[in-house]
Amino acid sequence: MKDDDARQPDSTSGVSRRDFMKISAVTAAVPLVLGPKVVEAAGEDVTVHGPGKVLVALNVNGKKLTADLEPRVTLLDALREQFDLTGAKRVCDRGACGACTVLLDGKPVYACSVLAIDAQGTKITTIESMAEGDALSPVMQAFVAHDAQQCGFCTPGFVVATTHFLQQNPKPSAEDIRHGLSGNYCRCGTYDGIRAVALAHAGGKQS
């Protein structure tokens, strides 16, 4: 963890939107953190954040985490660089490969394609909270048993996607698996093992 106070996870103080505005207004430390401006665009008032840093409060794995971030910072980069949650990987950085998959309010998203400030007010779940201490989740155990990993760089994203998929489809057919797990890429070629994880969960056999 960083020594910067603003980066410490803060599980006690739930920062409400109003508090957040107050904090933004009174924080004058360097780097300068400014509150949002309201500008008129196309005849309507639009709230504009930045371009300087703004205080961003995120609910990650049940903890409130805050950081001063430029509005352009993605959720992925905030998780990795500010909070050292490096399970989600930056691979394509434009929503094609799924290596940065996290859950937002229970739904899988590519964290590289969500701005951190837009993720405020949602419940963010990362791979780090899906194992309980050293005890692997059943899906993780199945990934190990079926050797559904090689270099491992795509693996956390795949585990998040597969966990969600199997919650939604406890008894998936082969076709469900092809469709439901095609949002992530692997370069080493571990798809056969991943498919076996899903089929084993369905009680079927690896075809």
């Binding site: 050292d84 394509c92 791979i127 050293d134 270099c151 092809r178 370069r187």
Partner: protein
């Protein structure tokens, strides 16, 4: 004398079983740390401004505005004004700043003026009138040949025939040796005739001399069947999911700590020493996990050197600079393209008699690769010539099984076309020719029998062109491959502590192949203890050096050094324990977590109590590979594998789907069946990917890569792979060869097998991979005339 040989099947509690990889839990839970994840306090972000032109000269660089920006910590000019740049994406200026956003702003504030020069990026068939390259070899020519892995005998022949226009000194020879240039090549250079360089206009085409074996013209004239075709594979990219890059810091003036994404932990420091002006011993290289390498991560890159320079200029603070995806596509390596016009002939009995190939391809500025043509088959009458094309793009790097997949696509395609012309089942055709398939002929024969069974080949194969009504045509194709895979140089220290814990230190790396797992298995198997009792420390150049992980050399190397160390440690332990068991040391065995008397297992000590006899000082032994003083050779070279593909092609849309792939593979003694099979599954899947989807597309107008991302450079996904069957050859005839590497061979055949299956399905050859809908439809329209290239 200690028995180092691999144990008999009866006394192998772990070797060859299906064992979970030891690093599995850390990877699936997101805890495994990669270079990209290195995130210390005060980390600075580094990034590089790259040249947007494929060929240009730098006129001026103005970094003043960037240097004044708040948050910018250091700026280094990597290539000065006046420098000629030969590919888009080459490094110009490096910047380190407090965060990535600031670095990007700073890069935008740097003004670089270029004189844009004409570029050349086409690897289309060279014009017919190019003359053979006959002038003396320049230093560049020589380096290109080495980088492109031109076979040593060809290099030596060229040196002898053409002479050299450069004068290497002793220092050059030393550095060549360090780069792995073979002694015979260096000897040829020493003896070479000096010939002054010719003043001639630079051509992008370098044509080798014509190589002729036997009497090809006569053989073609008297053959029963002759076919001609064109086959090929474009440039493709490694697409390591973790891009190249490093984090560098200077804890003291002459001390560097290097976190780098590499296949070569033990080899990095020596490469960094000179450019940084720091003794190699003061450079500590660290890496726990690497997110893919596939041959592209052996060397220190210029961006790494400059990341270190940025750190030095930023008061030694850590600077991390991982390539972005576009840079990864443009500068971090690719597989060279390879194409060939082939003529091949067989006699009436189905024996291949003659081969003629004119091949070409590009691997960037340095020219192309040299696929070993014809692949595997020692065809009696041959004529061949290769033209390397120099193009303005980032250089090729070794790509999993360098040159073999291209050679397989070209050769196996031509063989399948010849079989089709003779109305022969290619499985039957190949079995008639296995006598010219080299030293692994018997392996192929056994493997084809198994593959036939797993695929139902004989039952399902049909003559070329599926006659089933409707737009979906189904077909079968096959291919075969070989690879060396001998274990590399490897060293380790193995310590048994008096408390019974065991630790191994080795300066190696695990690319996801299972290196960690097999080292642990070998030690635990030899010492008769559970794998959990073995603590492996690796990924640090301060540990005994072990080779880079390339060419499938790691498995044979690390298991051999570990085996020798574990046997020596065990035997020294026996000497300490023997008196307590009232036995001679050679009467003891280590098994089931005990040290006991072989003939009377009731006389035993639990492992921990046995280790207490070591005394206060832990027992540490060193293991090496190779080690002639400790025979036998525990590794070997030369594997064979065969693959079959079953595909469906929609002749209305041109879409190819994989129904099923079968791989049958030999790799000597298997240490962990589970991770070994994963290598083969991975090879099949990577092969499906390059067979159907992958191509690095260069824009002839701008000279830039048009698809430097994962939307338009397609990889196979989980839904694209069909059913996969893997069979590993084990038992008599295989195990006793020792441990042989496996990563490369499995990726060689899929392109050829799939291409052949498509030809079998639709009745015409689609000449070039990837087998995209447009190419399939064009081939159908032309009826296989191969007119265009």
């Amino acid at each position: 004398m200690s028995q180092y040989s691999w144990p008999d099947p009866a006394t192998r509690p772990l070797l060859g079983k299906k064992i979970d990889r030891v690093d599995g839990p850390s990877k699936v839970s997101g805890k495994a740390k990669y270079t990209y994840d290195y995130n210390p306090q005060g980390l600075l972000a580094g990034k590089i401004l790259r040249c947007p032109y494929a060929h240009a000269k730098i006129k001026s660089i103005d970094t003043s505005a960037a240097e004044k920006m708040p948050g910018v910590k250091s700026v280094v000019i990597i290539q000065k004004p006046g420098t000629e740049i030969f590919w888009a994406g080459d490094e110009i200026v490096g910047v380190a700043a407090v965060d990535e956003g600031t670095v990007e702003d700073a890069l935008r504030a740097i003004k670089v003026e270029y004189e844009v020069l004409p570029h050349f990026v086409s690897d289309a068939e060279p014009p017919k009138n190019i003359s053979t390259d006959s002038g003396p070899l320049s230093n560049d020519d020589f380096q290109d040949m080495e980088e492109n892995q031109v076979p040593d005998e060809e290099v030596i022949a060229a040196i002898q025939k053409r002479g050299i226009s450069f004068k290497p000194d002793e220092k050059d020879y030393e550095s060549m040796k360090g780069m792995g240039v073979e002694p015979a090549v260096i000897a040829a250079l020493r003896k070479a005739k000096f010939v002054p360089a010719e003043a001639k206009p630079k051509s992008p085409y370098k044509k080798t001399g014509l190589q002729t074996t036997g009497t090809p013209d006569k053989a073609f004239a008297s053959a029963a069947a002759v076919v001609e075709g064109v086959y090929g594979v474009p440039c493709i990219v490694h697409v390591c999911l973790e891009t190249h890059g490093s984090a560098m810091e200077w804890p003291a003036e002459k001390e560097v700590v290097v976190h780098v994404s590499t296949q070569n932990v033990s080899g990095i420091a020596a490469q960094l020493a000179e450019p940084l002006g720091v003794p190699a011993g003061n450079i500590n290289v660290l890496q726990q996990n690497v997110g893919g390498g596939f041959g592209s991560k052996f060397s220190v890159d210029r961006w790494d050197v400059n990341t270190a320079n940025l750190s030095r200029k930023s008061a030694g603070k850590p600077v991390k600079n991982m390539l972005d995806r576009r840079a990864e596509f443009e500068v971090a390596g690719m597989r060279p393209s390879a194409y060939a016009r082939v003529k091949i002939a067989a006699a009436k009995d189905g024996k291949i008699v003659a081969w003629d190939s004119r091949s070409w391809g590009t691997g960037g500025v340095g020219g192309g690769g040299t696929p070993p043509l014809p692949y595997i088959f020692e065809i009696p009458h041959q004529r061949k010539q290769n033209t390397a094309i120099s193009t303005n793009q980032g250089s090729a790097r070794a790509w999993r099984a360098p040159n073999h997949p291209q050679a397989a696509v070209i050769t196996m395609g031509a063989i399948e076309d010849l079989a089709a012309k003779m109305n022969l089942d290619p499985l039957e055709f190949i079995s008639r020719n296995l006598d010219i398939a080299g030293p692994r002929a018997q392996t192929y024969r056994e493997e084809f029998a198994i593959a036939d069974d797993l695929m139902g080949w004989k039952k399902n194969w049909h003559q070329r062109g599926d006659k089933t009504p409707g737009p979906i045509k189904r077909g079968l194709g096959l291919s075969m491959h070989t690879w060396g895979g001998r274990g590399h140089n490897s060293n380790c220290d193995l310590t048994i502590h008096p408390d019974g814990s065991v630790e191994i230190k080795m300066g190696t790396q695990d690319l996801g192949t299972g290196a960690r797992t097999i080292i642990t298995i070998v030690a635990a198997d030899t010492l008769g203890i559970p794998m959990e009792s073995v603590n492996l420390l690796y990924g640090n150049n301060r540990y005994p050096q072990s080779g880079g992980s390339g060419g499938s050399t790691t498995s044979g190397g690390v298991t051999a050094s570990t085996r020798r160390a574990a046997v020596d440690a065990r035997d020294q332990l026996f000497a300490k324990v023997a008196p307590a068991l009232k036995a001679q040391p050679d009467e003891l065995e280590a098994a089931d977590g005990t040290v006991r008397v072989k003939a009377d297992p009731s006389r035993s000590l639990p492992w921990k109590q046995a280790c207490a006899k070591i005394g206060a000082v832990p027992l540490t032994v060193h293991g090496s590979n190779p080690d002639k003083a400790k025979p036998p050779d525990l590794t070997n070279s030369g594997v064979g594998g065969v693959q079959m593909a079953d595909v469906s092609v929609d002749v209305e849309t041109g879409i190819v789907r994989i129904n099923k792939m079968v791989a049958v593979q030999d790799c000597g003694l298997i240490v962990d069946m589970k991770t070994a099979m994963s290598q083969v599954y991975g090879g099949l899947i990577m092969g499906i990917s390059y067979a159907l989807y992958e191509e690095k597309v260069l824009d002839p107008v701008s000279g830039r890569v048009l698809n430097p991302n994962l939307e338009f450079y397609r990889l196979a996904g989980l839904s694209d792979i069909g059913e996969l069957k893997v069979h590993m050859m084990t038992g008599k005839g295989y195990d006793e060869r020792g441990v042989i590497g496996l990563a490369e061979p499995a990726v060689v055949s899929p392109g050829a097998a799939i291409s052949n299956a498509v030809a079998n399905a639709i009745g015409v050859r689609v000449p070039f991979l990837p087998l995209t809908p447009d190419r399939v439809l064009e081939a159908l329209e032309q009826g296989g005339a191969h007119a265009s290239v």
